[in-house]
């Protein structure tokens, strides 16, 4: 069933906010079962389908937040398309892995290529962020995700003035960039979202 235009608009606005728990829950309630059934029909196991759906929602939110979703198709169709592409990508990955296994008869290779987000990427993002400390995490999340102004952030943190906070934020970002340079694989992990584009 297609979503009403006004409901979809509300959902898009809600996804633009920093707290996306409610709209994401709505997406799960509305489309999880249907899209999972679609993935299972295409050969995914129930566990695979659930993981793929989660990744697809993350991509969807990313595309909405970045403005890449332009409303050419309904959100549900867009999400289903992302999920299908993700599953196709996963299938190709597995096929390549099987070929390698057949070629080298090596189980070690099995571990090198697994599906992205849920098992590897989320852990990697957490690892990198944890290296910069809790205060830096909060400042950078507040500024770059929650879109808070420096003045708003100053009220939350115990700094003498805005400039001190700006300097702290600059140090935090440098620290984070340094961590990314130490973990170049994160570039690969974050960029490939474009391959899932619907």
């Amino acid at each position: 069933m297609n979503m009403r235009a006004d409901v979809q608009d509300d959902l898009l606005k809600a996804l633009q906010m920093s707290d996306i728990n409610k709209p994401v829950r709505y997406i799960y309630d509305q489309w999880f079962k249907e899209i999972n059934a679609l993935l299972i029909m295409k050969g995914a196991s129930p566990d695979d389908a659930a993981d793929i759906f989660q990744e697809a929602v993350i991509v969807l939110v990313d595309k909405v937040k970045s403005g890449e979703y332009r409303g050419d198709s309904s959100l549900k169709t867009f999400l289903a398309g992302i999920a299908k592409n993700l599953w196709m990508f996963e299938l190709r990955t597995r096929q390549r892995r099987e070929k390698r296994e057949q070629a080298y008869q090596s189980m070690e290779d099995v571990q090198t290529e697994t599906r992205h987000f849920e098992k590897d990427t989320f852990g990697l993002l957490n690892d990198i962020m944890s290296q910069i400390g809790e205060t830096c995490q909060k400042i950078l999340t507040g500024f770059y995700y929650q879109k808070k102004s420096m003045r708003e952030l100053l009220q939350e943190f115990d700094y003498e003035n805005e400039q001190v906070l700006r300097n702290k934020k600059a140090k935090c970002m440098k620290s984070l960039r340094d961590q990314i340079e130490k973990n170049p694989s994160v570039l690969h992990e974050l960029k490939p979202l474009t391959i899932y584009a619907h």
Binding site: I20, I58, T121, F122, N126, M173, L176, R177, E181
Partner: protein
């Protein structure tokens, strides 16, 4: 790669599209950044990481709670659909059986509602025909038999009432005549006399006839328990003349009436 707050502002301005990429690269170069492109890419990646982590964290939280709730629901006992194929095969038979049960139940209900002593009496009543082979004592008795044969039941009764001495034959013909004349109260003692006499003497004359028509008389007069008892007795004797008239279905319906 050294950066300061000014560099950070330049990078953030670029991310917000407040300045062009070319201008940003030029200014970053002027600030001594050796590889502005690399710094921009690194900055973009860092912001993406921060945002993606927050989105992933919230989606993961919803995902887990959603799955937990739905796992609870799906883990509730569900009837196995394994017998579906065989059910499909037997379904027509079950349906037919169900139809038959409904029909039988409807028929039984109809029978139960419509069974009463009068229609049972009508169903069980058998016209009695005089056996011409049997010898007749005298002319009066002879006329009584003739009247009976001619269905002159009033005449039979009148004749019987004038007799001073009667055998089982006269008693039976008279009792039957009374029954036909709706004089049940006079018929019943005559049938009982025959049975009593036979019990005392060991005679079998008109025994079966007396039992059967006494049962009918009892039924007709609403003495259900006694009637049922007599019909059961007949039912239990396969050699009884009227055994075939009293099947189990008759007994069942007589039991309904008794209730």
């Amino acid at each position: 790669m050294h950066t300061n707050d000014h560099t950070e502002r330049l990078l953030d301005d670029l991310m917000r599209n407040d300045i062009s990429r070319e201008d940003a690269i030029k200014k970053l170069s002027e600030e001594g950044i050796a590889d502005p492109e690399a710094l921009i890419l690194s900055h973009e990646t860092a912001i993406k990481l921060i945002q993606r982590r927050q989105v992933a964290r919230q989606v993961q939280s919803v995902h887990q709670s959603y799955l937990q709730e739905n796992t609870k629901l799906s883990s509730e006992p569900v009837r196995k659909p394994a017998k579906l194929v065989s059910m499909n095969l037997v379904q027509p038979f079950i349906r037919a059986a169900a139809v038959l049960i409904v029909i039988a139940a409807s028929w039984l209900s109809y029978e139960y509602i419509n069974t009463n002593r009068m229609n049972m009496y009508s169903e069980l009543y058998q016209p009695y025909h005089v056996n011409t082979e049997r010898s007749v004592a005298g002319p009066i008795e002879h006329r009584m038999v003739e009247d009976f044969r001619n269905q002159q039941y009033q005449a039979v009764a009148s004749t019987f009432e004038k007799l001073t001495e009667t055998s089982n034959r006269e008693k039976f013909l008279a009792a039957y005549a009374y029954l036909k004349l709706q004089r049940d109260k006079e018929a019943q003692p005559l049938f009982e006399d025959i049975l009593s006499f036979n019990e005392k003497t060991g005679s079998k004359l008109y025994q079966d006839e007396a039992e059967y028509y006494l049962a009918l008389t009892l039924l007709h007069t609403g003495q259900h328990t006694a009637a049922l008892q007599m019909f059961r007795k007949i039912r239990q004797q396969p050699s009884h003349t009227y055994h075939d008239q009293v099947d189990q279905w008759v007994i069942t319906r007589l039991q309904w009436i008794k209730k």
